[in-house]
């Protein structure tokens, strides 16, 4: 299962539409969640709207929070999205096996069995989360909190039974050659998360759309600028239910 978690504090202003980019991600089987971080004032009507739209297009969840609640919110979004994705796959099977559309329609005794399966898969399905950090100038005072939240997320993911990996990107890059910079390649090692953003130089522009497209490429090819090392990730969660519910 693949997710992008975008952390930003405002509107994109350069390049391709981030909403279209998120729709592309979903098409590739990658869910996009968005955390809007604001400590003082609001994120602005436009920014708030864009954040919600990106998540909708990417099949994920969006939340606007202060840095204090960021860690908790990121975990909630990640977990909820995992459950949601599994539930969608399971619902599809429910329809095939039992002719029911959703969990809600099942009598409680059968519901219990289905939820046991969903819980099991939530815990064991392999998971990759790419964190995409908006490093435009206004985000600077929030980066320390972002880094803590990432560590905290890693700690929670490590506790899962299924393998869980994080990768971290920020955008824009210093030069104009890249739309997103890889800070940390796929890892499940907490200690590798130390002082992630020390060398980041903040810039004003916010090319959210192009950055998302870059990360989709990374999921595809395992690199930001080539077509090597294709990562095979079998579709998890499907075909499992039949064994449990009949």
């Amino acid at each position: 299962m693949k997710q992008i978690l975008l952390i930003t504090d405002g509107c994109s202003n350069v390049g391709a539409s981030p909403i279209l980019a998120a729709a592309h991600a979903l098409q590739e089987g990658i869910t996009v969640n968005v955390a809007g971080v604001v400590d003082y004032g609001t994120i602005g009507e436009l920014g708030g709207l864009e954040i919600a739209e990106i998540a909708k297009a990417g099949g994920g969840i969006s939340r606007i929070v202060g840095t204090r609640q960021l860690a908790q919110t990121m975990q909630m979004m990640t977990r909820k999205t995992v459950v949601q994705t599994i539930q969608q796959a399971v619902n599809k099977e429910l329809k095939e096996i039992l002719g029911h559309d959703s969990l809600e329609e099942l009598p409680p005794s059968q519901r219990s069995k289905v939820v046991t399966v969903v819980d099991e898969l939530t815990e064991t399905t392999p998971l990759q989360v790419a964190l995409l950090i908006d490093a435009s100038a206004s985000m600077k005072p929030k980066l320390a909190a972002v880094e803590d939240a990432i560590r905290d997320l890693m700690l929670s993911l490590q506790a899962r039974m299924g393998t869980s990996e994080l990768a971290v990107f920020h955008y824009p890059s210093r030069g104009s050659s890249e739309d997103a910079v890889l800070d940390l390649n796929w890892t499940s090692d907490l200690s590798s998360l130390r002082s992630l953003f020390q060398r980041i130089q903040m810039k004003g522009a916010t090319p959210t759309g192009p950055a998302i497209l870059k990360v989709i490429d990374f999921f595809r090819y395992g690199t930001l600028d080539g077509h090597q090392s294709w990562r095979q990730n079998a579709e998890e969660g499907e075909g499992m239910l039949g064994d449990y519910v009949v």
Binding site: Q87, E104, P107, S112, V115, V118, E123, D148, L155, S156
Partner: protein, 315 residues
């Protein structure tokens, strides 16, 4: 999915189960949390009171119900051995057909009491030893059935009159060895960089230790928590607190072990807690000196004794 801003149903509303057709009359709201609203209800036609939890999310609530069912069936087989069948915690699971949608709910035993921290605030910290013991017994019970409680905090511990303890909110319960589903900052071992978020007995014991420190000296715990940056936060501050504060002294060796994750299991932790609270150091310090009436009664009996001795001497 509904949100927590949904208004609660007023008193008098009748909740009829879609599947089993039982009817419950709402008396009032007992509480509201992240996963649902809990009402005090009366089963129509009966006198008994129950707590009814309506969930915001069918899947989350069912997950909680699964834990309760599994606990119940294990408990039943244990209790049958001891021939001591208690009234069950989980009574009924059903859906309520509201105007526009079905709302899942379950009915459980109503626990009359107050949250642990409120109970201690009201009755005094000398109750900590006993309520702590009973809470540890609850945790040990869960652990022996293969579960960890996870989200242990004072709000999830209800204490009834005379210190009987019940855990509520099983939404955070997970199987031992699985990731902890729900936790709260202070009580979370991960928050203190003191270990993983994989559910094991030590996870609950850590949370229990923080909970006890909070009850004994909340101010000190607050300071320890905010003293450090998240990435450097560690248990050193907690350990020094346990060493330093006189309020924590009676429990210090137990707390230290729990914070360091040194208990082999909760059974061992329970035994040591018992030893600790019944050690002379604490019992001797139990408040209330010898009551005046006892002293005068004692003096009086001495007088009588002397009198009797004298009498015996003269006779």
């Amino acid at each position: 999915m509904t949100t927590s801003s949904n208004p609660a149903y007023p008193a008098g509303t009748i909740i009829t189960g879609k599947w089993r057709k039982s009817r419950f009359v709402i008396r009032r709201v007992l509480g509201q949390g992240a996963n649902g609203i809990v009402y005090l209800v009366q089963k129509a036609g009966y006198r008994g009171l129950y707590a009814l939890k309506m969930g915001y999310d069918t899947l989350d609530l069912q997950s909680e119900i699964n834990v309760l069912t599994s606990l119940q069936s294990q408990r039943k087989s244990q209790d049958l051995l001891k021939e001591n069948v208690k009234s069950p915690f989980l009574l009924e699971v059903d859906d309520f057909k509201d105007r526009n949608k079905d709302i899942p709910f379950y009915v459980m035993r109503y626990i009359e009491g107050s949250a642990l921290h409120l109970f201690i605030r009201k009755r005094g910290s000398e109750w900590i030893g006993l309520t702590g013991l009973r809470l540890l017994e609850k945790l040990r019970g869960l652990h022996q059935m293969g579960f960890v409680f996870g989200d242990l905090k004072p709000e999830n511990v209800l204490v009834s009159e005379y210190g009987r303890v019940e855990l509520i909110d099983y939404g955070g319960v997970s199987t031992i060895g699985r990731s902890v589903k729900q936790f709260t900052e202070w009580y979370d071992r991960g928050y203190w960089n003191a270990g993983s978020r994989t559910g094991d007995e030590a996870y609950d014991l850590f949370a229990f230790a923080i909970l006890m420190i909070q009850l004994l000296d909340e101010q000190a715990l607050k300071e320890a928590a905010k003293q450090q940056l998240p990435q450097t936060r560690n248990t050193a501050e907690l350990l020094s607190l346990i060493q330093r504060k006189t309020s924590l002294k009676p429990y210090s060796s137990w707390l230290r072990k729990a914070v360091l994750g040194e208990f082999a299991n909760s059974q061992q932790a329970l035994m040591m807690w018992k030893e600790q609270i019944y050690a002379p150091a604490i019992v001797g310090k139990l408040p209330g000196k010898t009551p005046r009436w006892l002293k005068s009664a004692f003096a009086f009996s001495i007088v009588i004794l002397c009198f009797a001795v004298c009498l015996a001497f003269f006779l």
